[in-house]
């Protein structure tokens, strides 16, 4: 029983409820209002989309810090191709493929050359952002038709649900199936817990990792599409710094930075918690300085707390066993 309570995911859900209740009281009912939930959904859309594949990457013991730069590059390419007269129906798949290629470059450098993913993706973080600036410079392309930008600015008719969140929900189910009930998912955990062991038990470690990086690149490009339409603005500096928000959400969600542990549900709760807290604080007119401090503290908690709960768990099981 204690074990159940000591699970980090349980703590996250409790924190979410707490934020919702306190937020609802502090803002006089404005927090759980449909309009506000719509805005909250919009704000966390891109982070949630990228957090899905990144969870798998981190569980496998790797990291990808280039995600926000891939988002920016895809946004810049959308703008440039649109200016060149391409149709959006042709641009969007192209951009997804481009994102997959960016991911493949990360993946190949990590798996074939055996470089640490932290170093590789810090490099490509700069590289992809630089390419985005080469493509679009400091221009902004903004004349997208509203039939497309509505995707990022209007709710699903008759609800308060933003389209990007609907998309995210569908993909979350797909990722949950892959991670938690497929042999591929089990091999991801195996690699994260013990890479040598995984290799000796016949898992094609390099191939699995490469697949994860490709998926992350493609999803980051998809987030770039959502971002571009949400602000109806294609710019090379779109999403600068977003990688920190995504990594924060993944870690807060209870995924171990050392790999092998974490659930997709926890990560989605982490995304919601960070987004919800930020939303409540802004709605309650808390100053930006405090907002930054609170986000920073939450990040520390996100690294400390799972470690602490894990310790509580081991000590409780330790008591039970003779």
């Amino acid at each position: 029983m204690l074990e159940r309570f000591a699970r980090w995911e349980t703590a996250l859900v409790a924190l979410l409820v707490l934020v919702a209740v306190v937020g609802q009281i502090r803002t006089g009912g404005a927090f759980l209002d449909g309009g506000n939930l719509f805005y909250l959904g919009l704000d966390i859309g891109e982070v949630a989309l990228i957090a899905l594949p990144l969870t798998l990457v981190v569980v496998s013991g790797e990291i990808d810090l280039s995600v926000a730069s891939v988002l920016g590059l895809s946004s810049a390419v959308i703008g440039e191709l649109w200016d060149a007269g391409w149709t959006l129906e042709a641009i969007l798949p192209t951009v997804i493929v481009l994102g997959a290629v960016c991911g493949a470059v990360n993946g190949l450098l990590v798996t074939r050359l055996g470089l640490p993913s932290l170093a590789v993706t810090i490099g490509t973080l700069a590289l992809y952002r630089g390419l985005a600036l080469v493509v679009l410079g400091d221009r902004a392309v903004a004349d997208f038709p509203s039939s497309f930008t509505d995707f990022g600015t209007t709710p699903v008719p008759g609800t308060w649900l933003p389209w990007p969140i609907l998309l995210c929900a569908v993909l979350a189910v797909a990722f949950a199936v892959i991670l938690h009930s497929s042999s591929f998912g089990r091999s991801v955990y195996a690699i994260g817990s013990n890479e040598e062991g995984a290799r000796f038990s016949g898992i094609r470690v390099k191939r699995v990792k490469l697949t994860l990086f490709v998926l992350t690149g493609a999803m980051s490009a998809l987030a770039g599409i959502v971002y571009t339409f949400r602000f109806s603005s294609a710019r090379a500096d779109n999403g600068v710094g977003l990688e920190l928000a995504v990594v924060a959400a993944v870690l807060l969600g209870g995924v171990s930075i050392f790999g092998g542990r974490g659930t997709l549900g926890g990560v989605l709760a982490g995304v919601l918690l960070l987004g919800g807290l930020r939303n409540v604080l802004i709605l309650d007119d808390v100053s930006t300085e405090i907002l930054t401090v609170v986000t920073g503290l939450l990040l520390l908690v996100s690294v400390l707390a799972p470690a602490l709960t894990a310790r509580v768990r081991t000590s409780s099981t330790g008591r039970r066993s003779p």
């Binding site: 007269g85 129906e89 993909l171 998809l222 939303n279």
Partner: protein, 356 residues
């Protein structure tokens, strides 16, 4: 152990999501500009009283930026004059999209008006349009948003005024004779290039026949580069009599170089600068005068415009008039644009009245 089926499913889903987006081709050429018409509905009632207790949000490009802190001071003054409740908020970094959350929040808090300086004209537009459809009046100042996304834009000064005052100041400082140079920001800076074009037209006039523009240098709005470019200008043109630097970074760097060089007092310097950056150089005689608009007046006028909009005195249409407290009467120009007035000229005699 084959990872393929699961991953194939996911890739299919991804492309499916994209295919959902549309079926027929949508390109730049086929797309119609289907932006909704500006929402200035209803007629203005010039005799309407400014309502008391209006709730106004003040949203700068980023908080803790000294320029906007001064603008906020002016808007606070205006707010207390019209008995409005002004709330200042904003992002910590001035990126294109960082203001959107705060715009949404203002709509959610059912504010009567939003006064903002847009980080990116287009990125804030969808959120502003939504806010307006929920009854929030939108006034931009300093940096405009897309015109169909706001009601009124308070411009600091016209391009013409900013350019002519700088030519006038350099003519005063050099006695209207000799070679001059321009130290600008980046070669493709929109504002600076527009000003420089008009400066050239002004210099071509007979009244300025004694002044000869010999070079336009670019300090890239970087302190160190601007400093070196100033040095370069003086070495390349031994007869140089004056420098115009239409950027706050450039003029401060040039002043720092001149004040510690043999050219101090011999080569005139003017441009656009802030009083706090330039105070020492005005007092030690390096710079006789420079100009800038007063951001606090900008904030003041913006809040008055917001009050007039929210009270129905104006709707944003050309030709509408309203009174902006101490600043007097204003008339809206084309596309809902207001101009604060000519830039303020700062000299040794008035610089201590300004702190920004």
């Amino acid at each position: 152990m084959t990872p393929r089926p699961a991953v194939t499913t996911l890739v299919l889903l991804l492309s499916g999501a994209v295919a959902l987006a549309g079926c027929s081709g949508t390109s730049k050429n086929s797309a119609q500009s289907n932006a909704p018409a500006a929402g200035s509905t209803g007629a203005a009632d010039p005799n309407a009283k400014i309502k008391e207790g209006l709730k106004i949000t003040f949203l700068p490009k980023a908080v803790n930026n000294p320029y906007f802190t001064v603008a906020q001071k002016g808007s606070d003054e205006a707010a207390s004059a019209i008995k409005a409740e002004l709330k200042a908020t904003g992002p910590s970094e001035a990126s294109a999209s960082s203001q959107v959350t705060y715009i949404n929040t203002a709509a959610q808090q059912k504010q009567n008006a939003l006064v903002l300086s847009a980080n990116d004209a287009n990125a804030v537009a969808p959120a502003l349009k939504t806010a307006r459809s929920q009854g929030v009046k939108v006034v931009t100042f300093d940096s405009d948003a897309a015109p169909d996304a706001r009601d009124v834009f308070v411009n600091q000064a016209t391009t013409q005024e900013i350019a002519t005052i700088q030519v006038k100041m350099i003519a005063d400082a050099t006695g209207g004779q000799g070679e001059i140079a321009i130290l600008s920001a980046t070669p493709n800076a929109t504002n600076q290039n527009a000003w420089i074009e008009i400066m050239k037209t002004e210099l071509a006039k007979p009244a300025n026949a004694g002044l000869k523009l010999v070079e336009t240098a670019y300090g890239n709005d970087d302190d160190q580069t601007s400093f070196q470019k100033t040095q370069g200008l003086l070495q390349a043109h031994p007869n140089l009599k004056g420098i115009i630097s239409p950027t706050t970074v450039g003029v401060a760097a040039a002043a720092r170089y001149l004040s510690s060089s043999e050219y101090k007092g011999k080569v005139a310097l003017t441009g656009l600068g802030t009083p706090n950056q330039m105070r020492d150089y005005v007092k030690d005689g390096t710079v006789k005068s420079f100009a800038l608009w007063d951001p606090s007046k900008l904030g003041y006028l913006a809040v008055y415009a917001a009050g007039a909009l929210a009270s129905g005195q104006i709707t944003g249409a050309e030709g509408e008039k309203f009174k902006a407290g101490d600043l007097g009467d204003y008339t809206l120009g084309a596309k809902g644009e207001l101009v604060l007035g000519p830039p303020t000229e700062f000299t040794a005699s008035n610089i201590d009245q300004f702190n920004f």
